[in-house]
């Protein structure tokens, strides 16, 4: 990780400072206008005119968006809105047809994905990507940055990297304990359940000590009880001074932990604002349910509809 992003490595000591910073950052959001593309007082990520076309489909068409540093921002929108594609573009896994974007004021056009990650902008995947035939612990160790043993020249001489490895292992154990995976340390990651894989992927991303964590549907498939404790972890990330940007369909979670919500539909950003005001926004409801209804549904009702639709799809797939 670059030195200038002086992120705290010692969680305890840093909490005070991080907490204060993130409080200030949240407070600053109060003055931000609730309109698509609103400027933020201290943006960690900015994007301008990003367009990604798949054949005739404009999957992403974002005029302008900014993500505030030190807060939790949710990116929501119906299926196929282009959220994952937008993540891919921002993190260098896909190339936009047009547009520019900056992380910490460094332009990221044509920067390869691994360099983006090294800058401190680390993402997880909607379809989890665990390393199936490696143990959970090895998965975690891989996440650590700046490993001497990862260079070919020192790889063969264990003394050169053994100390670092021990420290990384220690950190991995701590994180795994936080994510309730400490009983699985020596299991192959491929033997984990779907929800556990989500957890492992999140924990592994944290091994890189990212400045900005981008989570693509982190709660999908995680049981409700664990969800609560995960929410706590995500909040604690913010309190350590990290920035979180996450995609999520679970509206309760969005309302619960996010400080700011960005809504995408059909590739565009259609609304932005604090959770409560955004969810009452007619444009958002239209985006989720199509423009054909005239009664404003509550989110509970909406969720039921979504759940029913999802169940139907599942049934079809099982056939």
């Amino acid at each position: 990780m670059p030195a200038e992003t002086s992120l705290p490595t010692n969680i305890e000591a840093a909490n005070e400072e991080g907490l204060a910073r993130s409080k200030a950052a949240r407070a600053a959001l109060a003055d931000v206008k609730t309109e698509p593309g609103a400027a933020k007082p201290d943006p960690i990520l900015r994007a301008d005119g990003i367009v990604r076309q798949f054949g005739g489909l404009r999957a992403v068409d974002v005029d302008h968006v900014e993500v505030q540093r030190g807060v939790i921002t949710a990116l929501i929108g119906p299926n196929g809105a282009g959220k994952t594609t937008f993540f891919n573009l921002l993190t260098g896994f896909d190339r936009p047809d047009e547009g520019e974007w900056w992380f910490n004021d460094k332009k990221l056009n044509r920067v390869p994905a691994y360099k983006v990650a090294r800058m401190g902008m680390v993402r997880t995947f909607q379809l989890t990507k665990v390393l199936a035939r490696l143990t959970v612990l090895e998965n975690m160790r891989l996440g650590a940055t700046g490993q001497r043993g990862e260079s070919l020249l020192s790889a063969m001489f264990q003394p050169r990297w053994a100390g670092q490895e021990a420290a990384n292992t220690e950190r991995a154990h701590n994180l795994l304990a936080r994510f309730l995976l400490d009983k699985k340390v020596q299991d192959f990651a491929g033997s984990l359940s779907g929800g556990q894989r989500k957890l492992l992927e999140m924990a592994r991303a944290l091994m890189t000590e990212p400045e900005l964590v981008m989570l693509d549907e982190p709660m999908a498939g995680v049981n409700p009880a664990l969800k609560q404790s995960l929410l706590g972890h995500v909040k604690s990330l913010r309190d350590e001074g990290r920035t979180v940007l996450f995609v999520e369909h679970d509206m309760d979670m969005v309302r619960d932990i996010s400080d700011w919500v960005i809504v995408m539909a059909q590739g565009r950003i259609v609304a932005e604002g604090p959770p409560d005001s955004v969810m009452a926004d007619q444009r958002v409801i239209d985006a989720y349910l199509g423009a054909h209804h005239d009664v404003a549904l509550t989110f509970e009702e909406e969720e039921k509809i979504l759940a029913a639709a999802e169940a139907e799809i599942e049934e079809e797939q099982n056939d």
Binding site: T84, F87, N88, F93, D94, F125, Q126, L127, K129, D216, E316, Q317
Partner: protein
Amino acid sequence: MHVRLLRVSLLILPMLFMLLLGTGLSGASASPSADDTAASDAPPVASDNAETGCQLTKPPDDETLSIYGLICDRRESPRVPVPDVTVLVKDASGNEIGRSVSGPDGSFVIDLPGEPISYLGKTYAVSVDKATLPEDTEPEKTDLKIAINTDTDQPVIFPVGAAGPGAEGKLIQAIQLTITGLVFSVLLAMASLGLSMIFGTTGLTNFAHGELITFGALVAFAVDNLDGEIRVGGANVTIIVGVLAAFLVSGLFGWVNDAGLWRPLRRRGSSLVAMMIVSIGLSIFLRNVYQYFAGAQARNYSQYAAIEPWEFGSLTVTSRDVVVFVVGMGVLILTTSLLRYTRLGKATRAVADNPALSSATGINVERVISIVWIGGAALAGMAGALLGVTQGFDYQIGFKLLLLVFAATVLGGLGTIWGAIVGAFVIGLFTELTTLFIPAEFKYVGALLVLIVVLLIRPQGLLGRAERVG
């Protein structure tokens, strides 16, 4: 349990099949004919000794194994023998084990010392010493590899032509090569289409596709080898029946391949890489089974010679080339129209596009895959038979072609239908036309280099699509 049994029996089926085919073929390999040219790396030239003037004579049948042959100048008609040329035989490690000088009739005999048995199963290189050839001549081949598989004497022929392209204009030569290239392209396209469709619908990179091509050539040969001729209204149509049989039986063979091997593997959820390696095993297996029954020598169909080329100035076109081209083109057009306009064709393209989605929209994906296997194998088999008609064949004609088939499909974009055809024509024409500028021995090298360069610029091939991440 029943399903298991069925699968096992389906696995055995192709072998039985091969056995059946084999009985047809082995009759042929048992009777050594004077017509057999030696198996060689390059496609064999049409039998030289059919003409008078330079005749191959068999050495006396004795205890020793001999390699005998002829050196003829092809520029003259009738051909004239070339005397006083040194010919060498070397073993695999390059040690000379015999040499001889051609006599006034152009023929030479090299006796191999020792027991004939000790030579079996080994490959020897026969080469002419270029320095001893007359000055203005250039051998069309200086080296021939022969695999000794029987203890009969082995014939080899070294045709000799003019040195350099001579006075013939480059333009004429280019046109001539374009014709050859087009005929080859059509056959390559037929073979590639099958590979690409199978890849598109199942994701399998089938290294045994070359063996589907050879299979067709062998079926046609089996028909050709039946006693007597097949006549319709006085015309001998044996080879036509042979090509048709190749088409049909290969289709059946494709179905057996899929139902006996690939479908069960798909059901098990085997990874694509694993299936790729299975296909390598299948390729090795089939190739050796073919050689088991058909032998290693290069062959031609009997109804093959006696073709008067049409001459347009210094351009020559044979009716055989025209027929092969027209037939191949017709089949290609028919296949692509079927894919475009029929329900089944549309379903096939839908499956190639997105199997999961197609199955959700009610397309029976497995049925489509079955049909693709049948169609793809039938096309490949027919290409093999037609290839045999144009340039002869041996048990590994398909394997030798496999890389070019791969090159064509990858160049166009694996899994795309038009890509395969476009790729085949690019590769087919390129291989022939480059011989204008570089020695013919590099024509495949050139085509394969083109493949690598295209992938450098467009990793998904000319007409392919980039994949989704995440």
